[in-house]
Symmetry: D2
Subunit: 417 residues, 4 copies
């Protein structure tokens, strides 16, 4: 057991931290100003300063680092990092959530989509969509969640994907499709049912749909609290009405959809959780700065016992959480997604709750300003709050985790008896 | 001791409940649609359906009920209700926060401003501003909070009000001035210092400033979790640069500002707290409806133990809270603001925390939709969250309450010894 | 609506408060010393100072006040108080839980047992057992809870009561029978099944069993944390092996057991909750005194923000809770046990959680001493902790309360549609 | 970074787990029975089954493993383990807190005392007291806490140690001196002031006092929630009245007391925290077993959503906590006590709160029985609750941790500016 990062990680961390200080943080206000000046506010990835950041990140070798699959060759596709090596980089990027991940071409949902194409795509699919995604030329979306189906229950998807000659015909409604409002989100991975009569986990397939395919409509952006999240392409409600795509757009084979979704899930969780820890660290930083600066009744509020209690609790909680997420990354590297199953659930449960708590306190230290556009805290809070539903609400995950704990304990008892 | 509402209250509650069912709830979607279609989105009180509601409320005698000062004559200015009689009506109105209070001409900050003018205004001030406010023809704002001063510390106000011949000259910066973005907010009550050398509670004065006075500028609307709250006039940042108003615009005398602010505070707290309870009741209603309708893994989520726990806790907490707020209203009626001091603090502490908790659970039961524009829950949450800062953060109030508890207990010990 | 106590209550409160100050508090240490010196530590009601207190309470008319049934004649059996009048007296008595209730002959479980005999007993039963109980000459126990049955599920009782000629034969095992270790607990009300084939709520009966009846054995005292609670007769585990009692010992008729248990429950809840509030008030008193006295790092801990937060929260929570319990008492007086059903559940849920929280903080303010025999706090905590199971765990009550809330809300929706 | 235990740790864990299953768990009931039959209940380390366990542990090489100082030679004094290697063994031993640690001669406070003697003792002191302690022949106590001094403030100790010729004369009062009621606790390490005029951290010294020294009196055992903790020697209140000991009993030099106390602290925290995690694991085990067995309203309570929520939360919290404690152990091994300072504070804050929460839920799942002598849960709870005060209350540690966090963040800001 060893709690020290390896040399590669240390070097990449140092490089990324420098990039953040020299380029990313200074660009934050610029980005929002330039984005506000765009004709189409959804067209976020055309913002000039972001383009500069991307060039700089690429120059520094901070590009596509997320692609941790073991088959990736360094320099070629990904950086050949392990999940455990990439995780602390994801954390750092989370400190400037709207800028650092896209600057490094490491932003969701593109990361998961690139992983899917990387692992399951045909050479043609890779050429056509993975390459421009890896090059940061286009963006993508992942269309799974549906309004009428609990998102925790992927087997229940209502969208149909029906073979008709050389084509598949898609019908269905999706919502909360992140990134989809961006006109440059050119390609959608759509989950639907190809065979509702198959085994429960073999009914679903994934298929690629291009943005301008007839019958595919983008209706509106869902808001989170009052944010439309145009900084990263919003969350769209979509319909597919007799949408026809070539049969070769299928990813893997018919019935592979659920398996691909599961494979996509694990690394995504690590990324989300580590970025959320980065958000929490940024919030602690802001909370401490504000506590030192703000004077009430004649002394800085950093001297108030209750504020200190929040700061200490924040530190204690985030240290524990980070270790659990890192251990989960390590498990994924060493025993795989399945062996890390309980931990992947655990970090899904722990992360949003912990970070939400910290954000609430950081906001409170800021007074009403903390809820406003003058600080990033309320927007962070909104984003983190959605994680308590993403891939199913906390309660579903807790229920499942408890079930396996009960099973595990029963086995121990049986072994004793 | 008697927990039954009196006949007058029962009748008014019945009348208001009927108005809500027949007119207010059905108008909610209409209001947002019509508001969205306005040229100026801040001009909320010109929305047609709201005008109809106001006419209907007036017809039904549900108008200006908030004006509980004992000197008001029924039929003349207010309805002559006690705080305890008005409180349950405020609760009901909170169930449709954007519509019911303004429909009844009982929306903050106009209510507090009308109370101030009613109690402290000169006949000329009443004629010029209170009358159109009571008639619902214009709107008003209350400009106290400043960016550089903890809002819990009203004695610390930085804005200056300097006598110069027949005029006062005002200089300062204010923010979070609710309602001020509305072009029909014609009159501002501004708090500032007339004499920084006077006793700590005699330095401040209040003065009336009309919207179009030269030197008075409205800069921007503050946002709360992405919401600009244009449904009720937003929260503006303002500056006063050598703003000159006639000396007769002063409310009361020089140095009366702090006292007027205190007098304004008590009833406002009751209103805010009761409306917040109404919000919580609406949230419980939505939570139960959703729990019954939404099916996950084959059964309504209303059958899940954790969801039931939330529903039960919500009920248990809100019942306790309501009683405390009603008791506080009763104390204000019977022993006055001062006698109700501890309770006024207590409800300030208890209400936002309780209602925020309930809203968080109601949102969770709704899934991601609960955070979106499809339900009012996230917007309610944002509004309630601001109450944890309004008139100073929770922590200041807890500290003060604890201090008086410690003092009280020390007296009991002394009496024993 | 009126939050003032009536004159009768005010007078009785004043009288009881005086009794507490002059007699009860000063006797607390004496009681524990004298109890420690007894040959049989369970024989608590023979402690001399307690006998003196009882005489004094009786002299002051503070005797049997709990008996609130409307048929009781003042001066005769009870004092003819309403539940709402008695409730604040129960609170005050809770401040010295081991002394004040028994001094006033108002201690559980005798109170509930006297109510049962008063309401359902035959003249012979009253003469033989109610009269000495009302006179404070003997003590009693209520034997319902069983080791193998969830105590929330009274319909599931395993003890059998079988008619055999002029007698009933009782077989079964009970535990947590409070007061039963006291050798002066002469009479037991035992709940069992007379007809397992009857309707679910008509299977149970209650029967009187004298302490020295053959086949009735008292095995051991259950401990709570490390306390055996000999100060009020402990909590015994009992067995009934072919215990024979005369048929006239049955209370009411066969099958009346469940109904009698329900009737006994309501007032008991009020008493328990109000006494618990008294415990909380005593804890706040101790917490404030300690916070003022104890110096750490050069200043009294009463000046620490976190300690103030606890004191304020304690006050805010207990004020809300008390009002809900008082309202429940009022409902029982005005609409009866059934009409107060939801509130009786609500106070069962809210009280132990709230008071446990306050006690935890009061202990923390005391440092390790707070857990020791030098202060009553740990013992109070232990007692309150048991209330989270008494008559079924919190979770059962929350589940039931949520079910009725869901039903109520569904009705409202139906009425609208 | 690597989350796998090394081979040595894996082997020792396997060996210890086997010892627990084969010997320790089966001995638990026997121990309490034999202890109950002793003439002197405090004389716990003479219980026969415990002696057998010690022999068996020694035979298996599970003896004195705690002694992790780098200078210890394997086989000679300690086992030469690192803190990180010993920590998981401490966890396992915590599962049977009254038996496993003493069986392995790894029970507090002897462990800390042996470390002190090992690191700072003279050859004579080692021969006379360390050797029999390492052999498990005698027991010891550590007398630091005083009734009138906040235990968080070691610099404030009131006990005096005054040189008088060849002797030191000790005067003072101590309490909560764990293990001291055991007649076989032959040697006491006493902290006091030798020079109240020296620098704040050089006033204190530690000195060895034998149990039978004239003037040294043991007054009473402090109780914790009704428990006297005679299973491990209780917690005594002591006085020293002109107690004279030879000058060579001083540990280190005059003024070294504070430094020795600090050196003793770090490893002790790791041990306490890991054993507490063992307690939590045992509680989760009991909670799961009970949830599977206990049927309420027709189904096992393991199927109730709320119970599952508790089980999942328990697992999620304990996994995080364990990693933080292990990391702290690793830091102590690699950068020393000082480098691990923040983490040592963090685990002091996190551990009792987390484990107390889990125990509360485990108790709740057990119903009233969970509070009784029939399960170890209430006793565990009492023990863990004291940790929220040990070496100072949580609040002191949070305050200190927040202060250093604020300082650290200010440095980061300064570096940026």
């Amino acid at each position: 057991m060893d709690f020290q990062f390896d040399t590669r990680t240390d070097e990449l961390r140092a490089s990324l931290l420098e990039f953040m200080e020299q380029h990313v943080y200074p660009a934050e206000k610029v980005f929002h100003a330039q984005l506000g000046a765009l004709a189409d506010p959804w067209d976020w990835d055309s913002v000039p300063v972001l383009k500069e950041l991307r060039a700089e990140a690429r120059r520094r070798g901070l590009w596509n680092l997320f692609l941790v699959d073991q088959h990736s060759l360094p320099g070629q596709e990904g950086a050949g990092l392990t999940n455990l090596q990439y995780a602390p980089l994801a954390e750092i990027s989370g400190r400037s959530l709207h800028l650092a991940p896209p600057a490094m071409n490491c932003a969701a949902p593109d990361t998961g989509n690139m992983e899917v194409l990387h692992m399951f795509g045909t050479p043609e699919q890779k050429k056509r969509w993975l390459e421009p995604l890896l090059a940061g030329e286009i963006r993508s979306a992942f269309a799974m969640t549906e309004p009428n189906v609990a998102s925790s229950d992927a087997t229940n998807i209502g969208t149909s994907i029906v073979r008709d000659g050389d084509e598949y015909v898609i019908n269905g409604r999706k919502w909360w499709i992140t990134g989809a409002m961006n006109p440059n989100a050119k390609i959608f991975i759509v989950m639907g049912k190809t065979d509702p009569t198959a085994d429960r986990h073999r009914q679903q397939s994934m298929i690629l749909v291009e943005r301008d395919t007839p019958g595919f409509e983008i209706h509106r952006g869902m808001e989170v609290f009052g944010y439309d999240d145009h900084e990263h392409g919003g969350h769209a409600e979509l319909t597919f009405t007799d949408v026809r795509v070539p049969a070769e757009n299928l990813i893997g084979g018919e019935g592979d959809g659920f398996g691909i979704a599961q494979a996509r899930l694990g690394p995504g969780r690590i990324h989300h959780c580590m970025r959320s820890i980065g958000i929490a660290e940024r919030a602690i930083e802001l909370m401490c700065a504000r506590a030192d600066e703000r004077v009430a009744f004649g002394r800085p509020i950093a001297e108030q016992g209750v504020v200190r209690d929040w700061i200490a609790e924040s530190r204690v909680r985030i240290e524990q959480l980070r270790l659990l997420v890192l251990k989960t990354a390590w498990l994924m590297d060493t025993v795989g997604n399945k062996g890390a199953h309980a931990e992947i659930q655990a970090i899904k449960i722990a992360t949003p709750a912990t970070v939400q708590w910290i954000l609430d306190k950081a906001i409170q230290v800021h007074g009403a300003g903390g809820l406003s556009q003058d600080f990033p805290l309320a927007s962070m809070y909104a984003g983190i709050r959605t994680l308590r539903f993403a891939d199913g609400p906390d309660e579903v995950h807790k229920n499942a985790l408890a079930k396996s704990e009960l099973r595990r304990q029963a086995k121990v008892r049986d072994a004793r008896a």
